[in-house]
């Protein structure tokens, strides 16, 4: 790299600055300024009409001592672990199957991507009907065939598992696109050699493909983790409203509820800072630690 000559594209630094200005302005107005304002708000107790007083770190103190918030942290952690691992496992296996399929693989690909194309709000409403404890089609089939009765309007664990499963299902399409692409980049000769040596399908997936697509897996791990913290909102809002008894009260939903339904903007801002910190630390750790397992050739 060092041998390549750096070429000055712009005649002056001012010209360069001028050209990045539009982007910077957008970022400043829509990202940095609100971020600073959020920090400022987090230190205040806000009244209904926005008149506020500075209360130092008392919002954070209230969060740390709140059972509701601690429960929400706990729920979100489990949600992240479950959806990220579940989603990666399922989509890797699906992508591998699609990759291995000789005929009609593009149809399978489309089928796998389809759920991703569905807006979250729509998916949530449909799932609500299908899995409705009393009226749902799926619930009815489960009950008739297996004698299992779904009761997730009451049972917190069931509600949590249902929302998690729906999130996994919803995320498959996105992951599969990347994984199929990554699998396609693995040289066929490697696969052929393994096949000639009589290596089974699972072994080929684990020993040959997974190491070679590890950069994509790391990328997906990070994206999926971010999503699990910020993205569960729609399904929770539509399907469970955080219930029953806060069993699906994700941090992002709790934040929304405190800020916008209970009009506690200070407390909500404090939560968004906590969420930001949690995700930042998680990203840092993942990038530093997990990256080592990725094989870049």
């Amino acid at each position: 790299m060092s041998t390549i000559q750096r070429k000055e594209i712009f005649e002056s630094k001012w010209q360069a600055a001028l050209l990045v200005l539009p982007t910077l302005t957008v970022l400043a107005v829509f990202l940095y300024y609100p971020f600073v304002q959020t920090i400022d708000l987090a230190l205040q107790e806000t009244q209904l009409l926005g008149n506020a007083e500075y209360v130092g770190l008392s919002n954070f103190e209230q969060l740390l001592t709140s059972d509701r918030y601690r429960n929400s942290l706990w729920v979100t952690t489990w949600f992240a672990v479950l959806t990220v691992s579940g989603s990666l496992l399922v989509s890797t296996y699906l992508a591998f199957l699609i990759h291995e399929t000789v005929r009609g693989s593009s149809w399978y690909l489309i089928a796998a991507i389809w759920p991703y194309a569905l807006p979250m709000a729509v998916a949530g409403s449909i799932l609500n009907f299908i899995f409705h404890p009393e009226l749902g089609i799926f619930t009815n089939v489960l009950e008739v065939l297996f004698g299992v009765s779904l009761n997730w309007h009451v049972d917190g664990t069931q509600a949590f598992l249902l929302v998690s499963a729906a999130t996994i299902w919803k995320g498959i399409g996105y992951n599969v696109i990347f994984l199929v692409a990554a699998l396609g980049l693995v040289p066929e000769s490697l696969d052929e050699a393994a096949k000639l040596d009589g290596i089974g399908r699972t072994q080929r997936l684990v020993r040959i493909y997974l190491p070679l697509i590890s950069p994509t897996l790391v990328f997906l791990l990070i994206i999926n983790s971010i999503r699990s913290f910020f993205g569960g909102f729609s399904l929770v809002d539509i399907m469970t409203g955080g219930g029953p008894n806060e069993a699906t009260n994700l941090l992002i939903f709790n934040l929304y509820q405190d800020s916008f339904t209970y009009n506690q903007f200070g407390l909500g801002s404090a939560q968004s800072i906590v969420l930001f910190l949690v995700v930042s630390v998680l990203m840092y750790v993942q990038l530093k630690k997990v990256e080592k397992f990725a094989y870049y050739g």
């Binding site: 807006p119 009393e134 309007h153 050739g297």
Partner: protein, 482 residues
Amino acid sequence: MVHDSDRLSDLLSRRKFLSMSGTVGAVALAGCSSSGDDGDDGSTDNVDGGGDESADTDDTGGSDDADDGNDDSGNDASLSVWYSIGGDKGDLVATLAEEYGEETEGVALSSSHEGSYGETFDATLRGIRNNDPPALAHLNAVHTVPTYNSGSFQPIQSIIDDVNPDDYIGAALDYYRVGEDNQFMALPFNASSPVLMYNKDAFEEAGLDPEGEEYEPTFQEFRNVCEAIVDDAGFDSGATWGNITWFVENWFALQNQPFVNNENGRAEAPTEVNLDSDAAERFYTWWMDLYDDDLYQLSDSWGDARQAFVNQDAAMLIDSSSNIVAQRQAAEEAGYEMGLLEVPSSEETWAGALIGGGAMFVPRGIDDQTARAAGEFAKWVASPEQQARWHQGTGYYPVHKDSIEILEDDGWFEEQDGMRLAMDQLLDSEDTPATRGALIEDHGQVRDLLSNGADRMFDGEDVSSVLSDVKSDVDELLARSA
């Protein structure tokens, strides 16, 4: 390989960006639609602090402008009305507004549906913050305290000082009285209370009197009826209603037990919720016993409960009176006849039903002429004729006493079986702190804490221990906002 995958990830990050913005969009959408279909939803409604709104926001964002052609006359008071009722009932509100705009000179009226009660309240607050409030905001009963405490709303009584409070049905108006001088903050527009709807055909099959004349509105009798319906009429369950705290508060009122202390928050800001009272214990135990014995079907929302009643999974439904007309029609389409009865209470007392619904609030920050025009419109929609019409179209009680006469002359009560009984439930209510309903700053949040508590009971936790947990959470919240 390396090179390729680098390029791939470049491409990916762009895609990622796109998809992330897509997700943000979806989240925004979800925000809108959650109060759409689920507008009836108990939890959503609790969150919104709405008492009993139903068929709420099918047409969110629909704005019904009635100010066409009036803008040119410069002297008109421009009157913007934001309301919280959607669906067919919302259309009726828009029609009323339009008619008023047309027949009133000097007023350019525009009305818009801002979503649920909670959403309209938020929108109004934003308007106040930006110095552009509506002239009239249609909000829920539970917004009485927040509007008063914020200091950004003017008590409507001070604007329409020529009205005689005695003209209005006491139970409907008194909820909105607040503060030292006991002025009413808002003029009620749509008043409702919980009623018991039942399937007459099911009663007949169960060997009960289909006209319900032998029915006594007590907890024990209600249980007996449920048992008969399940055992003899072959229903899955006897009754259903949503886990909605407004109903729970009604059961406090029925038993003449204030929901919170300090005279239900009317003497001064409440500091304790009365979940440790006998009334609370009696009601919750009865409710959970019904559930445990499969006599009661738990519904997650208003809509779920109505569906179960229409599907004839349950033969009785506790719902808002505002839904009587729509529900009766649904029952007819489903092929059975629906009747109305009183919501059961404990044997000891019957004090009266709790009011819910909405009223017209006037923000500050508008000029006097507009405020007066707003008051006039609020008076007009609460007038005997309009209230009679509104009642017939929805089931909401008329708030004006003279409406009853109009309805009687019209033969309405003979035609609408049971409606009289529902009305009487309200007219016969004693005026006590318990029946006036609670005044709480964070009413919506309190309701959520209670419905979460009920969830825990349904999940098998002990009634008394959940009640004492919830009490301490609510008390903590009350202390914070006091």
